[in-house]
C-alpha cells in the first residue's frame, strides 16, 4: 500500500509545491498599501515603466503556506544531527535571534549621527574586544562579510604591508594542498601566485618541504589550523618561525577556531592574522548559505593596514573611523557600511551567554564528541590518521573497498536514516573522504544512535547490499537529482513559456 500513488501526488506530510509563478492569481494581494498620493511624471527622468514585470499576485495565506511547505523540504540543525565536517553545524540559540530583533539594535541606520548610535558602536567594540582577547592579537578588521572575505582582507593587509616596506615583489603565497578552495581563490584576488605545499603521512604540513619553498619572493603562508583533516598542526610554532625568518607573514584560516577557542590563543602560535567565522565558532545561523561574518584579527605589524571603518574610543565616546586618519594606512574598504552588524549582535549574545568558561567547555566538548565518534567508529570504518583528532573525525573509503558502494552512496543512505550526511570527498588529500563534525551541542545519546546506524550501514555495505545504497535516498521529497542534465542544459529561472 505504501507504494501506491496518491491522487494528489502528496504523500502525507510530504506535500508537492508549485513555483510561485505557477500560482499567480492576478488581483490577489498579500499586502494592503494605502492609495499613493500624486506621482510627478516630470520627476521621473522619462523612464517611467511601461508594461508588466511578470511577478505573481498571491494572498497572504497562500504565501505563508507556500514558504512553510518549502521549509518542510529542508533539513536544518533544528531537525536533527548534522555532522557536516568543516561546516560546524551546531545549535543556534534563539536568544541571539531575539536580541538581534530589539528595535534599538535592528532599526538603526548606519549613517545616523554617531551620537545617536553609541549602543551599536558598543556592540561592535565589545565583540572586537572579545575576539582580540580570545586570539591574543591586538587589532581587528570587523567588516569582512564571511570567511572567504576575511581571508581576502587578511591577505590584502599582508600585501599592503609588503608594499609599504618596499617589498612588493613578494608575490608567492604558500598554501597546503589540503586547503579549502577559498584560500587559493582569495590569494589570487590579491595578486599572489599560489604555491602548494604537501602534507606528510600524518596529515600535517611537511615542514621540510615548506622550508624548501621559502625565498625572497615569498609573501606568506596560509594555513588552516586545526587543519582540514581535523588535526592540530603540531609543528605550528616552527612553521611560524620559518615563515617569519623568510620575511613572510603567517595567515591562519580560522574556519576551525571552534576547536580551540578558550584553550589556545593563536597569537601564542606565531600567527599574524586570522579570520573568524562568527557563523561557525559563535553559532550564528547559516541560513541556508549565509549571511556569515568574517572579522579578521591582525598582529601589530599588520594593524596599520586594517581597512576602514573601525571603532575607536574618543573623548565624546565611541567613534567610527570611516576615512583617513593620522598613523593609519588602511588598504581600503571591503564592503558597504560597518560590517555584518546583525550577525555581530547574535555572536555577542552567544559569547555573553557562554562566557569565558563556557567557550572553553564548548571547545572541549566539541573535541570530546569528535574523538568519541572516531573511537567508536574505528572498527567499522577506516580512520585516516592515528591519534586524537580535534573537532572533526576523518575517515576514508578503504572500508568500502570491493563493496560496490561509494562514499556518496553511503552518505545518501544516511539520509534515509534521518541524518544529514557528513562532508564527502573533502579534504582531497584523503581518498573518498568522510569528514564528520559532531560539534559540542550534540548529546551522547544522539551520538550513540548515529554510531549504531553508521555501523549498521557499514555492515550492510560489506554484506553486498550495493544496490540498496545506489537507490538511496528513497524517503526524501526528491531522490537523487540529475546534476549532469542541470549543467548541460542550464535552466536557471522560470519562464512563462516553460
Amino acid at each position: 500500500m505504501s507504494g501506491q500513488p496518491t491522487l494528489s501526488g502528496n504523500r502525507g506530510l510530504q506535500i508537492e509545491e508549485k513555483l510561485i509563478f505557477e500560482m499567480d492569481n492576478p488581483g490577489s494581494v498579500a499586502v494592503d498599501l494605502p492609495e499613493p498620493g500624486p506621482i510627478d511624471l516630470d520627476r521621473m527622468g522619462g523612464v517611467a515603466r511601461r508594461g508588466r514585470i511578470g511577478l505573481p499576485d498571491l494572498s497572504e495565506p497562500q504565501v505563508v503556506r507556500h514558504f512553510t511547505r518549502l521549509s518542510q523540504k529542508n533539513y536544518g540543525i533544528d531537525s536533527g544531527f548534522y555532522p557536516l565536517g568543516s561546516c560546524t553545524m551546531k545549535h543556534n540559540p534563539r536568544l541571539s535571534e531575539k536580541m538581534a530583533r530589539l528595535p534599538g539594535l535592528a532599526d538603526l541606520h548606519p549613517l545616523q549621527p554617531q551620537k545617536t548610535v553609541q549602543g551599536a558602536l558598543e556592540v561592535i567594540d565589545s565583540l572586537a574586544f572579545w575576539l582580540k582577547e580570545l586570539t591574543g592579537l591586538p587589532a581587528i578588521a570587523m567588516s569582512p562579510a564571511a570567511g572567504a572575505h576575511g581571508e581576502w582582507c587578511g591577505l590584502m593587509a599582508i600585501r599592503a604591508a609588503h608594499e609599504d616596506r618596499g617589498e612588493g615583489h613578494r608575490r608567492r603565497m604558500l598554501v597546503p594542498e589540503s586547503a579549502h578552495g577559498t584560500n587559493p581563490a582569495s590569494a589570487a584576488m590579491c595578486g599572489f601566485t599560489v604555491d602548494p605545499i604537501p602534507a606528510k603521512d600524518n596529515g600535517r604540513v611537511d615542514l621540510d618541504a615548506m622550508k624548501a619553498k621559502l625565498g625572497p619572493d615569498v609573501a606568506g603562508l596560509m594555513l588552516t589550523n586545526p587543519n582540514t583533516c581535523g588535526l592540530f598542526e603540531s609543528e605550528i610554532i616552527e612553521i611560524a618561525a620559518a615563515i617569519h625568518g623568510a620575511g613572510g607573514y603567517f595567515y591562519c584560516d580560522g574556519a576551525n577556531f571552534n576547536a580551540i577557542v578558550g584553550r589556545v590563543r593563536v597569537a601564542d602560535l606565531g600567527i599574524d592574522c586570522m579570520h573568524i567565522n562568527l557563523h561557525k565558532t559563535f553559532s550564528t545561523p547559516h541560513g541556508g548559505g549565509g549571511p556569515g561574518a568574517g572579522p579578521t584579527v591582525l598582529s601589530a605589524a599588520l594593524a596599520p593596514y586594517a581597512p576602514v571603518p573601525y571603532v575607536v574610543h574618543g573623548p565624546q565616546g565611541l567613534e567610527l573611523v570611516e576615512g583617513a586618519r593620522e598613523g593609519a594606512k588602511p588598504f581600503g574598504r571591503v564592503k558597504g557600511f560597518h560590517g555584518q552588524f546583525g550577525v555581530f549582535v547574535r555572536a555577542l549574545a552567544y559569547i555573553a551567554s557562554m562566557g569565558a568558561d563556557g567557550l572553553r567547555q564548548a571547545s572541549g566538548d566539541a573535541v570530546l564528541n569528535a574523538n568519541y565518534l572516531q573511537a567508536s567508529l574505528s572498527d567499522a570504518l577506516t580512520a585516516s590518521f592515528d591519534g586524537p583528532c580535534m573537532h572533526e573525525a576523518l575517515f576514508d573509503d578503504r572500508f568500502l573497498k570491493d563493496t560496490g558502494v561509494t562514499t556518496l552512496d553511503f552518505a545518501k543512505a544516511l539520509i534515509d536514516e534521518g541524518y544529514h550526511p557528513m562532508t564527502m570527498y573533502f579534504p582531497l588529500v584523503v581518498h573518498g573522504a568522510l569528514l564528520m563534525e559532531p560539534t559540542e551541542t550534540e548529546s551522547r545519546e544522539t551520538l550513540d544512535q548515529f554510531i549504531a546506524v553508521v555501523k549498521g550501514l557499514a555492515g550492510r555495505a560489506k554484506a553486498g547490499a550495493a544496490e540498496d545504497f545506489k537507490a538511496a535516498p528513497r524517503l526524501t521529497p526528491r531522490r537523487r537529482l540529475d546534476e549532469t542534465l542541470a549543467a548541460r542544459a542550464p535552466v536557471l529561472r522560470w519562464k512563462a513559456s516553460t
Binding site: 546534476e483 549532469t484 542541470a486 549543467a487 548541460r488
Partner: protein, 125 residues
C-alpha cells in the same frame, strides 16, 4: 591512430601534413566523468606549446586543455561545444577539440607514443 602522440596532461595530437588535430584522451574523459561543458579556442589564435587552449568540465571538475604543440588554430569542433556528451563517447576520435597549423613540428618528438602513454597511465594508478 598509430601516429597519435600524447602529453602528460592527457591531450592527444594526430598529424597529417602540417595540420595537427587535438583532443583529450579516453583516460581523461573517463576520469572527468560526464562532460557538461567545453570551451574551444578562437580560430586564428596562435598557441604556444603548453598554452591553455580549451576548457573541459564535468559537474564536479574543470580541466584546462593545453596545446600539445605550437601553431595557429584553424578549426574547432563545434559539435562538442553544442553537445559536450560527445566527448564521453568518442574522445580519441570524432570528439576532437581543435586543429592547428603546426609552426614547429619538431616539438612532437618530445611527446609520448601510444605505448609510452599507456605505460605512463599505469604509473598513475
Amino acid at each position: 591512430m598509430s601516429d597519435t602522440r600524447f602529453t602528460k596532461d592527457h591531450e592527444w595530437i594526430s598529424v597529417a601534413g602540417d595540420i595537427g588535430t587535438i583532443g583529450i584522451s579516453d583516460h581523461a574523459q573517463h576520469a572527468l566523468g560526464d562532460i557538461v561543458f567545453v570551451e574551444l579556442p578562437e580560430i586564428g589564435r596562435h598557441l604556444a606549446q603548453g598554452a591553455e587552449a580549451a576548457v573541459v568540465e564535468s559537474v564536479k571538475a574543470a580541466s584546462e586543455v593545453y596545446s600539445p604543440a605550437s601553431g595557429e588554430v584553424i578549426a574547432i569542433n563545434q559539435a562538442i561545444a553544442d553537445q559536450p556528451g560527445l566527448v564521453n563517447e568518442g574522445a580519441e576520435g570524432a570528439a576532437w577539440f581543435f586543429k592547428i597549423r603546426l609552426s614547429d613540428p619538431a616539438e612532437l618528438a618530445g611527446l609520448m607514443d601510444r605505448a609510452t602513454y599507456d605505460g605512463y597511465l599505469k604509473t598513475l594508478e
